[in-house]
């Protein structure tokens, strides 16, 4: 067994983004001793600091008719009625309160003409309710959260990857982690653990998800007996650059469409008029992604395989003030969005599902919580734009509070001999990676997984493509990368080998779930089952059985206000229709 250092803590937060920070802040407020474990750089890594769209909250500033119930309904309809409505209620009720706190941390957000928070219209929302800071809302939010974490002197370990959770009976008691800087292993004895390390977007070749987001939380949760939900429902964001090659895959904020952006095919037709004349470019992301897919598949796309997104009709000052980042990004590659259209195609964006939690954001396993993108249920089959940032703060606060309470209120002491055995077990996982070099290149495998998933489990799926993906992944599971001893500190190959294992796990879940769900709903499109089916208004829950095999089962949707079977949903196209109307 390798050398390690033990750190005792009340609440361990795995992650460094918005949810992790807010959870840490709340746990600290509750009096717990907290430690944050950030895989990369705190305040720089993950999606929160780069999130562009905005923060949805029913303040009613732009339209006084708005309130949490409308937000709730929009979220559920947008989610294909697969949302856990208990969680959605909490999200919509508490989003405004959590937003106000940010300015007390040092953030500053845009104001509208009435001197109250500016609210922009985004896809799928009935009223404009997206609060912004230019087109860098996530960055501004992160800055405030970083400030508050530092102000409270909460311990933050950067460059630290969590590897495996440690368990005692039915509760999580700690975590094994690797600190890159010194090349040291850390063992946390944590009374409560919160997994808030994002989703698994990096399993796709084209993804907005940053490097490192490989679904670590999904894997670690499954390993200790927690369940996942809705993993097959991955969100494809309609607008990522497709050309020029050097910029391919980079994101174009939904805010561009929010400020009036229009989509055109190669024939110059504003094709959204054909698919959804009422909402046009502000329909839900999954809807538009599918429309673009058909446009290109049926030969109406550009030679790069995309369509055009144009804001040339929007006044330059608006673009310069509200879409600064998009403008500068384009200019860096010679594209001036004020005078020419962007060439776009959907890219993978967000993990709608995640770890299954209850209304305290606790998982099935005691003392294990999940928050943010890592947690599933809030967004159902498809997340609305600007619903993630409020999710981070709302779920983060609740998970943080409850984790702290679980740690501080009558905590049963840890059985030390079991703890030592758990550490040994966790280290076997590590030793499996470093004891030999089996010639499997972890970076090549990572790229293979990405290519495999994009081609087979992407925007368009079929029984053939999914079965193929599952077979390949099964092969990879049998022969994961083993890289031997390649140096101690900042061992990139070791990290890649760890990442590959996380990717395989999430990828397998997604592929199996997609195969099981024989219908099309939201972003999950089956070419062999192209319409939604009544009986599939259920959630797929993932778990590992005693032999460590993945088991999938159906569970009824958790409903409160809306009847998931009775609520009307938008009709998605099953092909590109040439005739107008319908």
């Amino acid at each position: 067994m390798l050398d390690y250092e033990v750190i005792e803590v009340d609440v361990l937060v795995v992650g460094g983004g918005g949810a992790a920070s807010r959870a840490a802040i709340e746990a600290d407020s509750a009096g717990a001793n907290v430690c944050m474990l950030v895989k990369g750089l705190f305040g720089h890594s993950g999606c929160t600091p780069i999130a562009l769209g905005g923060y949805a909250a029913a303040f009613g500033n732009a339209d006084p008719r708005d309130n949490w119930r409308v937000h709730f309904e929009d979220t559920c309809v947008g989610g294909g009625m697969l949302n856990n409505q208990e969680l959605v209620e909490i999200l919509c009720k508490e989003a405004p309160e959590r937003f106000k706190e940010l300015e007390s941390y040092g953030s500053i957000f845009d104001r509208g003409t009435n001197c109250r928070y500016y609210q922009r219209q985004l896809g799928g929302h009935s009223y404009p309710r997206t609060c912004t800071s230019g087109d860098r809302t996530g960055g501004e939010m992160m800055r405030g959260l970083v400030n508050e974490v530092y102000r409270r002197e909460i311990k933050v370990l950067q460059d630290c990857t969590a590897i495996r959770l440690l368990k005692e009976d039915d509760r999580v008691v700690g975590c094994l982690a690797y600190e890159l800087k010194r090349g040291k292993f850390l063992v946390f004895r944590a009374k409560s653990t919160i997994l808030a390390s994002g989703g698994c977007g990096q399993v796709f070749k084209f993804c907005f998800a940053p490097y490192g987001k490989v679904g670590d939380a999904n894997r670690m949760a499954l390993e200790v007996g927690a369940e996942l939900v809705d993993l097959e429902m991955f969100q494809f964001h309609p607008t990522g650059y497709i050309a020029p090659e050097s910029i391919a895959g980079q994101s174009i904020s939904e805010g561009v469409r929010g400020e009036g952006g229009r989509l055109y095919n190669v024939l110059g037709e504003r094709f959204m008029e054909r698919y959804n004349p009422k909402q046009l470019e502000l329909a839900c992301r999954d809807f538009i992604s599918r429309c673009i897919y058909f446009e290109v598949k049926e030969g109406r796309g550009t030679e790069d395989g995309g369509v055009f997104l144009s804001v040339t009709h929007v006044p330059a000052e608006i673009i310069e003030q509200r879409l600064t980042t998009m403008l500068m990004r384009g200019l860096n590659y010679g594209v001036d969005i004020r005078v020419e259209p962007m060439r776009v195609y959907p890219s993978s964006h967000y993990q709608n599902g995640g770890i299954r939690v209850d209304t305290t954001w606790k998982t099935k396993v005691d003392h294990l919580y999940a928050a943010g993108e890592s947690a599933g249920g809030v967004h159902g089959g498809n997340r609305l734009g600007s619903n993630s940032l409020p999710d981070l703060l709302v779920s983060g606060k609740i998970a943080g509070w409850n984790a702290a309470r679980a740690a501080l209120d009558s905590y049963k002491p840890v059985d030390m001999s079991n703890f030592r055995r758990e550490i040994e077990r966790a280290f076997k996982y590590v030793e499996d990676i470093v004891s030999t070099d089996n010639g499997v290149n972890p970076i090549s495998m990572r790229n293979e997984i990405k290519e495999l998933m994009w081609n087979n489990v992407g925007i368009a799926r079929s029984k053939e493509s999914l079965t193929h993906a599952i077979n390949v992944l099964e092969g990879m599971k049998k022969r994961p990368p083993r890289v031997g001893q390649r140096g101690k500190s900042y061992n990139v190959e070791f990290l890649e080998a760890l990442d590959a294992r996380s990717m395989i796990c999430s990828a397998e879940c997604m592929a199996r779930g997609a195969l099981m769900r024989e219908e099309s709903r939201c972003g999950h499109f089956r070419e062999d089952y192209p319409v939604p089916k009544h009986e599939w208004t259920v959630n797929i829950v993932y778990s590992l059985d005693e032999d460590g095999e993945l088991r999938l089962r159906k569970e009824p949707v958790v409903q409160t206000i809306l009847d998931p079977y009775g609520t009307e949903m938008p009709i998605f196209p099953t092909h590109g229709r040439i005739e107008c109307g319908e």
Partner: protein, 508 residues
């Protein structure tokens, strides 16, 4: 996919402090396609060569600030910058190296905490939607574009000396954000000044490398100085303001500054004005005389305001006195109008920058004369100069680009064209020139309020000049000249220091 496909090579800094005795460079082949970014090159090297280079990457979209490294000696984001054949990739300076291209960012985080970047105010606004006007927050929003990439820190000449004298552009930007945040009630301006805002020469190197193009010298540092001037009755700048107003110079000197022109017979009015500048008038009279002679040789007959020549006003701006600057500039422009001046030629780079950048920025609705630096005029008309042709043995010269002339105004080629034509000397370039030139240390008012620190920075640049093997350092700005002269006197080297005007004059 890409069109052009070929193999290129890049050099990567390799060093593991835990295992290696010393650092080295390794060269790696990369399968290149057009527009390929450095991050893809590094990833492909790690994949194909199993190089295990330690590096950072996150968003790949130049939004997160994680992947900053030195590319051919210039800080850049690996995800944004195109890879090129022969590129040299190194970690950022000034931070401990963890391994290869990875530096210890905990140090940077700890510095951030010292600034108290969180909101400071008595009451609790966490449950309030505070009403504000959008125009109230725009200045803070400008500063908040900062992604914390550390590129600015890597090129700041004031940090090279010590972190204690100046905490760095990025940190000043974040203090500025708090200062401009209408919700924050602490005296952030005092924080900024304490952290060394007045030790910043506003050289612009930070703005040049900032991926978000934040105008740190003007909008952060400059604005803090303005706010400070408003706060303070008597700051270090107050004496300077009085001197400029009463005695037409920022040094507090009362003796005449026009004596250098004795015997030259310069008229007091005319279409072309020679603006000597306060510093040159007091310290480098010989250079001024040479300048006038050269102008006459190329057919320009300048006039000179003598007693009526004011300060260009730039020191007022450097110390935060915007209104004073405007008043002063308007007086000067009025005088020009009365004397029939259509064109102003100056040998001073600070004056030149004041005229060409700040006058148009601050003065509206007034017709400005054409402003030119003396090297621009001489370069234009150099056909009329008869220059020596024999080579002087051992005369190797190098040229320092003044920040004001170069990076701020883009005048790089005109001085060089004069140097190229001097067949008598051998001209060699320093490693960091043009927009990458490192500030001499005198700008931003630093020479006036903290001369020892300015000299420290000057010595750093002198070292770079020495490395070229040149025996002479040439510059086109009296402030650079003044500071280098003082730094040399403190033991900064044995090179000969010369203004380009003098050098040209001596080589006729």
């Amino acid at each position: 996919m890409g069109t052009v496909r070929k193999e290129i090579k890049v050099k990567v800094f390799r060093y593991d402090p835990q295992e290696d005795a010393e650092a080295r460079f390794e060269e790696y082949p990369v399968e290149y396609y057009e527009g390929m970014r450095i991050w893809r090159a590094l990833d492909s090297i790690n994949e194909k060569q199993r190089a295990n280079i330690a590096w950072r990457l996150s968003c790949r979209e130049y939004l997160c600030g994680s992947c900053t490294i030195m590319v051919n000696g210039r800080p850049a984001l690996a995800c944004k910058t195109a890879v090129e054949d022969g590129q040299v990739l190194e970690p950022l300076p000034y931070f401990p190296i963890v391994k290869d291209l990875v530096i210890d960012r905990d140090v940077a985080a700890n510095r951030l905490i010292k600034l108290r970047p969180w909101l400071l105010r008595e009451d609790d606004i966490s449950k309030t939607e505070v009403k504000l006007h959008q125009s109230d927050i725009l200045m803070a929003r400008d500063m908040t574009q900062c992604i914390g990439c550390l590129a600015c820190i890597a090129v700041c000449p004031a940090i090279k000396g010590a972190w204690e004298q100046f905490n760095g552009p990025m940190y000043q930007t974040l203090i500025a954000k708090a200062a401009f945040n209408p919700l924050d009630k602490a005296n952030r301006v005092a924080d900024a000044i304490r952290a060394g805002a007045f030790n910043c020469t506003q050289c612009g190197a930070c703005r040049d490398v900032c991926p978000k193009k934040i105008d740190i010298p003007e909008k952060a540092i400059g604005q803090m100085k303005v706010l400070f001037a408003r706060q303070q009755g008597d700051g270090p700048g107050k004496a300077v303001v009085e001197s400029v107003k009463l005695n037409y110079n920022p040094f507090g000197r009362i003796e005449p500054k026009w004596n250098w022109a004795d015997g030259l017979g310069l008229p007091k009015s005319g279409p072309v004005l020679f603006f000597a500048g306060c510093l040159s008038s007091y310290e480098f009279g010989g250079t001024l005389r040479a300048g006038v002679e050269l102008l006459r040789k190329v057919g320009v007959e300048p006039c000179y305001l003598a007693q009526d020549e004011p300060c260009c006003g730039e020191p007022l701006l450097r110390l935060g006195y915007e209104n004073e600057f405007v008043k002063h500039a308007l007086d000067f422009l009025e005088c020009c109008k009365l004397r029939g001046v259509k064109e102003v030629i100056t040998p001073c780079a600070e004056c030149f920058r004041a005229f060409t950048i700040n006058y148009p920025k601050y003065i509206k609705g007034v017709q400005l004369p054409v402003f030119r630096h003396v090297t621009q005029v001489l370069s234009d008309k150099k056909g009329r100069l008869k220059l020596k042709s024999e080579k002087i043995k051992g005369m190797k010269v190098t040229y320092h680009d003044p920040c004001r002339l170069g990076r701020d105004c883009g005048v790089y080629d005109e001085p060089r064209s004069l140097l190229y034509d001097l067949k008598g000397v051998e001209f060699v370039e320093m490693e960091k020139t043009r927009r990458d030139a490192v500030c001499c240390g005198a700008g931003g008012g630093v020479k006036l309020v903290n001369s020892p620190f300015a000299e420290e920075m000057g010595m750093t640049r002198l070292e770079m000049a020495k490395q070229t093997g040149a025996s002479m350092l040439v510059t086109a700005c009296p402030w650079c000249q003044w500071n280098f002269r003082d730094a040399m006197a403190k033991g900064g080297g044995t090179m000969v220091l010369k203004n380009i005007v003098d050098l040209v004059n001596e080589n006729l």
